[in-house]
């Protein structure tokens, strides 16, 4: 028996393939800049207690005398407020960093949980087929036909305010997207011969669904999830702006904007403006990265 010499056409281990994907991603300078920005924001968010000049939640550090100072002004004790202060004397830069931390945490946690939940539902629908599929997808359809903000408002009205309630509301809004997306790609994969082969090997159903079907149906979700983080941030900001989201003691970017909104016309624009810019930058960067990721991953999916 002759041993065959292996020289495949693209002979590369998985980590090189990921590297190749990344280098293709990197060809877009805009996307790379956006990615850099996101990394920066994440670092800031994680290291907030050490990076921010001041802890805006620590009332003992605030000085009401320093309130509504414009950007680049010095405070009573001589500290430089890069982006000014708000009506309570909080340093805006610190408030934004901590606000970013909260916004990103809420969005990522909600997205991740919704992803897991939606993926399970969608996978079950695709694998079981028939009536189970029909019922689950009708629930998904109903869910998706409601505007996200409406569902969120209703849930918050029922459950009350608070960070955890906001996360629950975000999860309820998002899971349906993942369910639908993964059901679509799982339906395609389910017809493929390797699934037939797995069934032919008499492997138990759960194993076929999670070990064989899921890893192959998953890639479209990466792109959806990336963009959904941005949606989640925006939705949470909306809720908080309306006063229905996070409590005043832990302001997210949305709440900061709401807070500063009253002062927009009276000249202290920076109290709402800079949190707004931060929100805009975060969402735009995530969307850009998500777009580029979608471009790069897509032709590969077809392969």
């Amino acid at each position: 028996m002759t041993l065959v010499d292996i020289r495949g056409s693209d002979l590369e281990p998985w980590h090189a393939r990921a590297g190749r994907t990344f280098s293709e991603f990197a060809e877009s300078r805009v996307a790379m800049a956006a990615l850099g920005l996101i990394v920066l924001l994440l670092v800031l968010a994680v290291l907030a207690p050490w990076v921010a000049p001041q802890n805006p939640y620590d009332l003992s550090q605030l000085s009401i005398m320093d309130n509504k100072l414009p950007p680049l002004s010095r405070g009573f004790s001589g500290q430089l407020y890069l982006l000014g202060t708000d009506d309570q004397g909080r340093d805006m830069l610190s408030a934004i960093i901590f606000g970013l931390r909260l916004s990103l945490t809420v969005a990522i946690v909600a997205t991740a949980t919704a992803l897991v939940l939606g993926a399970c539902v969608g996978l079950l629908a695709a694998y079981a087929g028939g009536r189970v599929d029909a019922v689950l997808m009708r629930i998904v359809d109903i869910q998706l036909s409601f505007p996200a903000i409406l569902i969120a408002l209703i849930l918050v009205a029922i459950l009350g305010k608070g960070v955890d309630k906001v996360v629950i509301a975000l999860i309820s809004v998002q899971w349906a997207y993942y369910a639908r997306t993964i059901r679509g790609s799982a339906l395609v994969e389910r017809r493929r011969e390797y699934i037939e082969a797995a069934r032919g090997l008499a492997l138990p159903h759960w194993r076929v669904a999670f070990r064989h079907l899921l890893p192959n149906a998953f890639p479209p979700l990466i792109v959806v999830a990336t963009v959904q983080v941005a949606h989640a941030i925006a939705l949470e900001a909306t809720l908080s702006f309306l006063g229905l989201g996070v409590p005043i003691t832990e302001p997210s970017l949305g709440l900061l904007i709401a807070n500063g909104y009253a002062y927009m016309m009276s000249g202290s624009y920076w109290i709402a403006f800079y949190p707004g810019i931060a929100l805009l930058v975060a969402i735009a960067a995530i969307n850009l990265v998500g777009d580029r990721l979608g471009e790069v991953l897509n032709p590969r999916l077809a392969r």
Binding site: I6, E196, G200, A202, N216
Partner: protein, 330 residues
């Protein structure tokens, strides 16, 4: 000694009318469900240790029949028995592992391997799950299997896309062998391979048969391959078996007009430049097969009875079966 026996196996694929069509029917539209008789009343017996070639063109149902035998889809009618016990009974009861004795080798070596699993897992997953080997013994077991199919065990941590077509075909074979089958259904397993690789894989099949005492059902549209590897050959047309015979006899003296046409139409290496003459007509769609004998519109010898009556598969000589009214006249 019969290892697999089919009795009156049929498979129908039905696309039922949807709500709109059923509403139209209330108004007398006269629509009916779309029914495809992919397999129509097939009875066949395979003996242990033999290689049976199943030949037919598109729409003849050979792939569907292969999957029914492999236990991947249930028949609409009829029974499939493995060593005397019906497959349906085996699937339901604790003898589920008996299903592992019948394995399928698929056509497309890329699509039949999970692109996100390493080769060692593709081959090694099922034996561990079914307790054929323990986790401790698995590595050595997989290495031995890969060596048996002619692959270098050093590459077992790689993914399918890193291998060539022929190598992937071998991985598929190793996966099937891992659960210690007795019977293999090879569904066009060499069709997508290059000529020189095809020869390697065919030689491998023959070697495995000699070494492991396997029985094969070799499904192919390539008559040359079937002639080379099979002991007996079965010809299928539009869901029905039309001829069964030992390979040498079938190729020497085909009985059924369709078999004759098929053999006359196959390009042969030995033939030199000649005028191609073909059987007329298109292969009918399985959605709307001709009545009576399915082949009659294209058959040069068709007569009245062929249009109305389905010919039964009759034994016309020891071990030779043919479904043609012409044999009755003789």
């Amino acid at each position: 000694m019969s290892i697999i026996a089919l009795a009156g196996v049929s498979k129908r694929f039905v696309k039922p009318l949807d709500l709109a069509a059923r509403a139209a029917n209330l108004f007398g539209a006269g629509l009916h469900d779309v029914v495809i008789n992919a397999v129509d009343g097939v009875s066949l017996s395979l003996d242990e240790g033999e290689v049976v070639g199943l030949v037919g063109e598109s729409g003849c149902g050979k792939s569907t029949l292969g999957r029914i035998i492999a236990g991947l889809i249930p028949p609409s009618e009829g029974t499939v028995t493995f060593r005397g016990r019906p497959l349906a009974e085996l699937a339901a009861g604790p003898g589920r592992d008996a299903l592992l004795k019948i394995q399928m080798i698929f056509q497309d070596p890329m699509a039949s391997l999970n692109p996100r699993m390493r080769v060692q897992d593709i081959v090694g997953e099922a034996p561990v799950v079914h307790g054929i080997v323990t986790r401790a013994e698995l590595a050595r077991y997989v290495d031995a299997l890969l060596a048996r199919v002619g692959l270098d065990a050093d590459y077992k941590r790689r993914y399918p896309h890193q291998f060539s077509g022929g190598q992937r075909a071998r991985i598929g074979i190793a996966r099937a062998l891992a659960v210690k089958p007795d019977f293999l259904v090879c569904d066009e397993s060499v069709a997508s391979l290059d000529v020189s690789i095809k020869a390697q894989v065919l030689n491998l099949f023959m070697q495995l048969r000699a070494d492991l005492g396997l029985t094969y059902l070799f499904i192919s549209h390539d008559l040359g391959v079937v002639e080379h590897i099979s002991d007996r050959t079965v010809i299928m047309y539009l869901g029905r078996l039309v001829e069964i015979a030992p390979t040498d006899e079938l190729f020497r003296a085909p009985n059924h007009p369709y078999t004759q046409a098929l053999l006359a139409n196959v390009p042969r290496l030995e033939a030199r430049k000649h005028r191609f003459e073909a059987v007329k007509g298109e292969i009918p769609s399985p959605l709307d097969p001709p009545p009576g004998c399915h082949f009659h519109p294209r058959c040069p010898f068709a007569f009245d009875r062929c249009r109305n009556e389905r010919p039964a598969l009759k034994e016309i000589a020891p071990d030779r079966w043919s479904a043609c009214h012409l044999n009755d006249a003789a």
